[in-house]
Symmetry: C3
Amino acid sequence: MLRKEQNDLLTQTGPGTPMGDMFRCYWIPALLAEELPDNDCAPVRVKLLSERLLAFRDSEGRYGLIDEFCAHRGVSLWFGRNEQGGLRCPYHGWKYDHTGQCVEVPSEPKESGYCGKIKLKSYPLIKIGDILWTYMGPAEKQPPHPEWEFALVPSEQTFTSKRWQECNWLQAMEGGIDSSHVSWLHSGNLNSDPLFKGARGNKYNMSDARPFFEVTDNEGGLFIGARRNAEEGHYYWRVTPWVMPSFTMVPPRGDHPVHGHFWIPIDDENCWAWSFDYHPVRALTTEERGAMKAGKGIHVAYVPGTYRPLANKDNDYLMDREAQRKGITYSGVEGIAMQDASLQESMGPIVDRSKENLVSTDNGIIMARHRLLKAARALRDKGVVPPGVDPAHHRVRSAAIVLPVDKSYVDVAEEALSVIEGKAPTSV
Amino acid sequence: MLRKEQNDLLTQTGPGTPMGDMFRCYWIPALLAEELPDNDCAPVRVKLLSERLLAFRDSEGRYGLIDEFCAHRGVSLWFGRNEQGGLRCPYHGWKYDHTGQCVEVPSEPKESGYCGKIKLKSYPLIKIGDILWTYMGPAEKQPPHPEWEFALVPSEQTFTSKRWQECNWLQAMEGGIDSSHVSWLHSGNLNSDPLFKGARGNKYNMSDARPFFEVTDNEGGLFIGARRNAEEGHYYWRVTPWVMPSFTMVPPRGDHPVHGHFWIPIDDENCWAWSFDYHPVRALTTEERGAMKAGKGIHVAYVPGTYRPLANKDNDYLMDREAQRKGITYSGVEGIAMQDASLQESMGPIVDRSKENLVSTDNGIIMARHRLLKAARALRDKGVVPPGVDPAHHRVRSAAIVLPVDKSYVDVAEEALSVIEGKAPTSV
Amino acid sequence: MLRKEQNDLLTQTGPGTPMGDMFRCYWIPALLAEELPDNDCAPVRVKLLSERLLAFRDSEGRYGLIDEFCAHRGVSLWFGRNEQGGLRCPYHGWKYDHTGQCVEVPSEPKESGYCGKIKLKSYPLIKIGDILWTYMGPAEKQPPHPEWEFALVPSEQTFTSKRWQECNWLQAMEGGIDSSHVSWLHSGNLNSDPLFKGARGNKYNMSDARPFFEVTDNEGGLFIGARRNAEEGHYYWRVTPWVMPSFTMVPPRGDHPVHGHFWIPIDDENCWAWSFDYHPVRALTTEERGAMKAGKGIHVAYVPGTYRPLANKDNDYLMDREAQRKGITYSGVEGIAMQDASLQESMGPIVDRSKENLVSTDNGIIMARHRLLKAARALRDKGVVPPGVDPAHHRVRSAAIVLPVDKSYVDVAEEALSVIEGKAPTSV
């Protein structure tokens, strides 16, 4: 349960808000690289942290992320011409480079130097893996580039998608660190989804619906361990790393690719759910990549031409009561991602956390909120750089492991929960 | 004409408002019984008096009307699994019975008794006739069950429908007690609609467009008598009972079934228009029931899969100017119900009653508002139970009668305007 | 750049606002005459200056523009019956004539004189040219009828259309007096649009993208002269008259018809863009009229049954990046009118003028705002009739002319920029 002012602090990320300032300390995913496929391709509208921006890729392949609107009279540069090393407003020909610097105001004499004084707000945009990342904070505080394993492995080993989610980022992220719902909401999918089925661990997941949680702090965030009964004298541990503010990884299953998410605010009532799948030591198979593109696993099928899920709140997520009744899907909604999204969106655009009743299995959520509140206040009050900015914090993995009852996942953390190049995931 | 504060008082029915408290004194229609056709069928979202609720029917056939959102983290229980005597949230398996009592929190040990402390807001939901009724007030003040004749007669004698109306309840209800518009707005239908045509009274209705109104108070509300000229030395009286807060009956025509309405607030800008047809002493014929289902009389045809009229404000009610010009329909809108609804919605979501110019034929409306204001204030200030709560007030009928000029409808009220079992309506 | 309070003053035109009062000093276009084609035809909803009105044409051909809502209980008279010299509300038969005077209240005895006391707000509606004009100010200050040349020439010489524009009137109007964008935004169309191509002046327009502006005040508004290089020793002048508050004319091209606009507020976030084409001395050809109806030149193709452009913000104006890349259209949007509208709408419903960076080519805009502010304040503070009300101010023309470098367009203003009957436009 949170008081209203706590909930407001965590959920509001526009310019000048404490949580907004905190998000502006990190490199965050802005676009899929596929959205800007070629030099001089069409620019793309991007709304992040309640700011309206425009992304483009210039004639030399440089990426720009600038204010959407021309400095002259406020026209959207989405209508601009991307040509000859810059984006030109079609109204009067003002031209900007990828840093937002105005490089031409045709009506003014060049010798006046007028255009040199005009510069749009802009943020760096860099490609790492399949993602274009941005950093929206003050230039002098820009941190080193992100080092998430999924983005650093060779491209044949990784796949990333994004989808529009119609609610605040926090209730989406809270779903990502909530291991306890898997035995319920996704129970219909564990044994049928091509990217989940067949793992030995699934049977523990299904047979013990009352996991015990052991959550541990680390420098970048948390490890959330869920313990279920396994064979006599053993426990099955699933460990979810959470790196602040919103990186999560799902524990692996057998030799399946491992997956995880970022939850990035568009504005206070919408977010991007970023979803990745990768394997640290092998290429994805054709079947796996095909399934991901088809919306299996944690990915979705889209409304054509958009990143909006085909099953969405306007069509009640294509609810199928018959499939619910028969247990083909537990909630009647098809697909793991939309099972989560449908419920999270059903809470309303920003859930009122003063009405919750949290239980022991919500410990991960409780501790994550605590860490977020603490970090946002430390940044606001003392300028303390928040956890997760340091790339060393990025080098985490999820794990699924069977241990004797006298051991905890903490005992194997060093080895199983860190990125060790060339080493396969710790998975059951 | 009403002052703004009077209009606000009458039109606002959310929790804590005087008129909202008053509506919460009554049993009101919540759903059609057909919306919950089977045990363990799909739950239904219900918004009433600005509260978001969920109706369901459990494995033993018990009806529940509970808060839409799970007490745990706020997920909509519309996605829930209706099974084994309760509704289970698909997120973490919390389960509720038909009273909103939480009966299972899987993550907590049974012996903790945790779930016993969790109870959702809930209201009783009972089936009488074709309707599921609820009472949304304090449990200790719950009145006896409703005794409206249309809901008590054998099922073969009665038919009920509902439709979404996109305006405040009061301007819809005011249409129901306004007998004077029939000679105008519905004039094209009196002689063509299968559920209206052929009655001797229709000709008086059509030939005298300037009725005289005699409105009388009774314990539960009002009788609104409209007097028109009939044959030499006689008047044709049509008497509409209004029972507080929003039950009305249309005066009968020949041996046609008698009809009437409830107008129930969804929120302050939407209401349910409930419409019933019944005959006190005979079964409805196949033709009559077919016509009702087809949207004739006071019923409507729907957008498939919804209770929204097919002719609605998004399509200008399928206005047909040619039919208007030829007088096939007086306003160009087809069907008695949509003729009323189109005009009432055209006033805006909540009509500004400070701009009205009321005339003598609006006496029923004026007196009804006066009674509502008085009752809402008496409840608010002194806790007085409002008229219409007592089931004795429900046992009224409408009547249509020709009387000598020296008699008023009041003289025959006892016999014609009360429910007398086995006695046919007083109708011309 | 404008301060917020200046921007508010110029952009808000509802009842009681200074700019709203100013618009209420003029005869303004309300409807196309084609919208009320016949006596007793269907009435038309009209929203102007944030007032909801209803236009109709009675049995004798008289035009009325009255309050949309019946004085009795507030029903929209759009549902009314237009018959026998007036508009009858279909609810209770109240009837109004074209002046808004109630002429019948059926429920009240005629001798009571009741209906004589009921009068709806109404404004005069007169047909001049293809337009129905209204004046929404106090009756005692009604000015003489408008004398715009395009509306006074024989009907075979003129053509007018209107389209809904989804932004404030001022940013639309500012586009109309901004000659500098033509060389950019419309460059793809000058040589291809049937109503623009082939004129000698076009080549100057295209070859000199850095025009010099000379703006001169006149009694009714401004002349905005744009000077571009022509042959050795000569300048090409394009002169745009602006008459307050929102009449503009595009300079002519060869013997093409001349065109111009009115920008009339619907409410503060929507306006009507009125577009006319006429030739002062000859009939429009069949080809020209056909092209106008097809949406060429400054006209548009519509969503069928509406005056909303087919290319609109819901479909990203049918953006064609390939056409943009090839320069078929400069911005990728097809058609001169939608090129303007798309950019103006992209600024948002009401652009924030505190963020602008204006340059020398924006002088016309700067001076027009200054004149508007001055006039609105003079009216508000001292009751001064604003410029443009006097029909003498209407008799202006645009011009396109090549002059020796030692001459300005001001030297030929008398002859070229005034309406001289029977004289062709001054055009190159």
